[in-house]
Amino acid sequence: MESVIGLEVHAELLTRSKIFCGCSAGFGAPPNTNVCPVCLGMPGVLPVLNRRVVEFAIRAGLATGCAVAPSSIFARKNYFYPDIPKGYQISQYELPICAGGHIDVVTEAGTKRVGLTRIHMEEDTGKNVHDAHVADSLVDFNRSGVPLLEIVSEPDLRTPGEAGAYLRTLRSILQYLEVCDGNMEEGSFRCDANVSVRPRGQKELGTKVEIKNMNSFRAVERALVYEIARQEQAIADGERIVQETRLWDADREETRSMRSKESAHDYRYFPDPDLLPLAVEPAWIAEIRRTMPELPAERRARLEREHGLSAYDADVLTQRKDVADYFEAGVRAGAPAKDMANWTMTEILRMVRDEKLDEALVIRTWPIGPTQLAKLIRLVTTGVVNRNTAKGLLPKLRGTELDPQELVRREGLAQVSDRAALEAAVRDVIARCPDQVAQIRAGKEKVMGFLVGQVMKATGGKANAQMVQDLLRAALAQSS
């Protein structure tokens, strides 16, 4: 059997104001404070489209090779729910703003092109709040009218792993475009999955099931693994798959039936008569195209080419735009590319994760500035400090604007490369450790490390490790 997966992503846009009114689209305000008659759907109010939302949609479309429609239409999606104030949601249905693009996803099996059916704009709904302390349910309309892009893929994905890679790539693109912060936990990057299974080689699609309620990449992959297994088992047992919507229960690690197609909504879509068809002039598209940023795939290729990085390193560094920016700033400040890449990927990203700085779209408060790190790396490559000493300095540099060289001087940590001093220390260690010396002579090379460690200890960790090695070997050869 093979599985067939298509994904629908809702990306909340980083506009300052909502899609049809001037209210703030910011996250986290007290309930019902970012609201006005328009986003509350009061009697008589009318929507006015936010131009910035259209620009963001076009940016997303251009970045994914979509055709931008010269004329697109807003529709009403009619259904009753307490969190939709008008009794309908304004969305796009026929004639969306973007259609027919693709995203190239790097998977273990190579690069895979995933088609995009469409990208359209819509308004978010409010949020029902079921407070245990009050008998009634309450509604918070702060999110009502916050702009969303819905990005619908073709059913081109075959495995949960591909689905995960697609989502990461898509999120990365949206972050590069600075249109969405991609935060799944806060709901600004939400995903529904359509999945079906069929015998390998069969052309027709099996009956599809929609899975909702997945709020992390891990949840998406786990839910797909579960659902594919469930469908394969059902077919093996001779059951028929019913078309339905299922919810992912992350605690119980299973999908659960939510509603079947029979009880599915008839949304009664029709063109919203309060909004004129949206005309996008070619000049506007051209203007947006001129200001498009470099996208992750282009940047990955450029880092490999310009800095000689491995494909793996380039991939890690370009998943986030701010990380790639950090890396390049360090290189510009004089750090060798390979060293800057290593330090960024290991030490810096670990600190960023520990301090949860990566949850924002852009990391503005790096624990250590790229120029600072570049200087520190230069201290290692020029032999002023050894690598271990440099690592030990990171906590002291964190959150400061200290010059690493200044810090080394102040703390007296400069590497000891004084030949006479090191020779004395080597002689002393050889004299103190006759057993280990004998073992090395018997061929146990590993014990060498112990002797190096002893010398380092004697010099307070500041000894030039390479010189210690060389001197030790010379001394052992001489006295044998």
């Binding site: 759907g41 009697p43 008589g44 009318l46 309908y88 349910s137 509604v139 029709f270 309060d274 004129l276």
Partner: protein
């Protein structure tokens, strides 16, 4: 000297500006007139006397300080109760909004206030503007001031009745399928339905968004033009409002009709019309010819599909527009809302909406349903295009069209309430104009044998309200129908 309430809107405004009469005096006079006529007419759902007197006093203070207070300075006007007024309840004639107080003004409300008008009250209408007699109001009965056993027309029945009763100097109504023009005709006042997009709909509770348009009702053509100038023009809060600037028309009604070409749609003079109505309309056309207009016959071949088209487009939009009245955030919520949110919706809407509104919501819901959309809603949109093209062709050869407003004069209260389809035919001559988005106007052109008013309809090219007002002014100058008032 006649009573203050008998003045024209222009005279009243001029006297306030010259400080011959204070805005407070004028407002008191209208409040007294309301008190005197309301027992017979029932046009008002809400009289906001305190707010009106406070606004009038503010106008007087500003006048005393030498400020320019606008063309409508201190003149009491009233609004169809579907137009939002901040702090004053706005019900749409519906029990579901019986106690709804908007926190904001509609754009037209704000523009009237800016022009110095004093808003004295809110006028009865068919619930959510659905109807042709104002009998669908959930909150009160309005009677025709000319005959208390007759309907005032609808849906802006309160607006027309109040203007006819002289209990305000002018009023705003809305017209989705004839709702300004029909009651204007039935009550013998002037009513203008502007071009779609000429007047902002912001803050006007929507019935059918692609057809609704706000317009003025007044005692004569010049007063109508003054009100129109106050409310017309682009509004950035209404995406469907036209960006094209609106030219002030109140000062340019002269010029007459000499040399103008008027078209008479053949399809609007049909069997079954009340003979007195046809006679009055044909006589009015002769008067215009006598004033120098040339009149020719034109054809609007798709007229017979207008009613069916309208009841698909309008109800489809209404079914969606009225979904927000669900008992969740404002308005009525039934005392025992059941055990689920679905039951709460159903119970609230069942109790809050009247029969006609429910009928139209169901019709519209059906027309938009999966599997029926193409056959009904989409087909209606296609026919709508044909109807609009009829007008484009007819108006290519002439400056305006002249036609009757309705096949009959005002019918009796209760006469058609049991038969909605018969009621729908009242709008047979007005509905196409909304489908085409054109400006239309009703002016008094006579009376039938029972002394009931007859209206003449003028239909113009898009954004050419100027020609309509000019033709209307020329006609008015040759007749005295508009000077007659009901005995109250």
């Amino acid at each position: 000297m006649s009573a203050l309430h008998d003045l024209s809107l222009r005279d009243a405004a001029m006297r306030v500006r010259r400080r011959e009469v204070s805005a407070v005096e004028l407002t008191r006079a209208i409040l007294e007139r309301i008190a005197a006529t309301e027992p017979q007419v029932g046009a008002y759902l809400t009289v906001c006397g305190d707010e009106a007197l406070a606004a009038a006093a503010a106008i007087d203070r500003r006048l005393a300080a030498g400020e320019d207070v606008g063309r409508l300075a201190g003149v009491p006007v009233a609004l169809k109760d579907i137009i939002c007024t901040a702090g004053v309840r706005t019900t749409a004639g519906s029990r579901i909004l019986e106690r709804f107080v908007p926190p904001y003004d509609a754009t037209v409300t704000a523009r009237l206030r800016e022009a110095g008008a004093v808003i004295v009250g809110k006028l009865n209408c068919d619930e959510f503007a659905m109807g042709s007699s104002t009998e669908n109001s959930g909150l009160g009965t309005t009677r025709n001031p000319w005959d208390g056993t007759r309907v005032p027309g609808g849906s802006s029945g309160g607006s027309a009745a109040a203007v006819a009763a002289r209990s305000c100097f002018g009023a705003l109504g809305t017209d989705t399928g004839g709702s300004i023009r029909l009651p204007a005709a039935y009550c013998s006042v002037v009513g203008l339905k502007p071009t779609y997009g000429r007047v902002s709909r912001y803050g006007v509770m929507a019935y059918a968004s692609s057809l609704d348009q706000v317009g003025p009702l007044a005692r004569d053509v010049a007063d109508t033009a003054v009100l129109f100038d106050a409310i017309a023009g682009h509004d950035p809060r209404d995406s469907t409002s036209s960006p094209r600037p609106s030219r002030a028309l109140a000062g340019s009604l002269e010029g007459g009709v000499r040399g103008l070409r008027l078209g008479m749609p053949r399809e609007y003079f049909v069997e079954g019309m009340q003979p007195d109505v046809e006679r009055a309309v044909r006589e009015a056309v002769r008067v215009l010819e006598g004033a120098g207009a040339s009149v020719e016959s034109v054809s609007l071949p798709h007229s017979e599909y207008a009613i069916a088209t309208y009841y698909l487009v309008a109800t489809a939009e209404a079914s969606s527009n009225l979904a927000r009245y669900d008992g969740v955030r404002y308005g009525l919520r039934v005392a025992n809302p059941g055990s689920s949110v679905g039951e709460m919706y159903a119970e609230t809407r069942a109790a809050g909406f009247g029969a006609e509104v429910k009928r139209r919501i169901m019709l519209g819901t059906y027309a938009l349903s999966a599997g029926y959309y193409d056959a009904y809603y989409l087909k209606a949109l296609q026919v709508r295009t044909l109807i609009a093209q009829d007008f484009t062709k007819a108006l290519a050869g002439c400056d305006a069209l002249v036609a009757p407003i309705a096949p009959t004069t005002a019918f009796r209260l209760g006469e058609k309430t049991a038969d909605p389809l018969t009621m729908y035919l009242s709008d047979i001559f007005t509905i196409s104009v909304n489908l085409a988005g054109l400006p239309g106007m009703s002016i008094p052109c006579g009376f039938d044998g029972d002394g009931l008013p007859v209206g003449l309809q003028l239909i113009g090219k898009p954004f050419d309200e100027a020609t309509l007002l000019r033709v209307a002014a020329a006609y008015e100058g040759s007749t005295d129908w508009h000077q007659r008032g009901p005995r109250l």
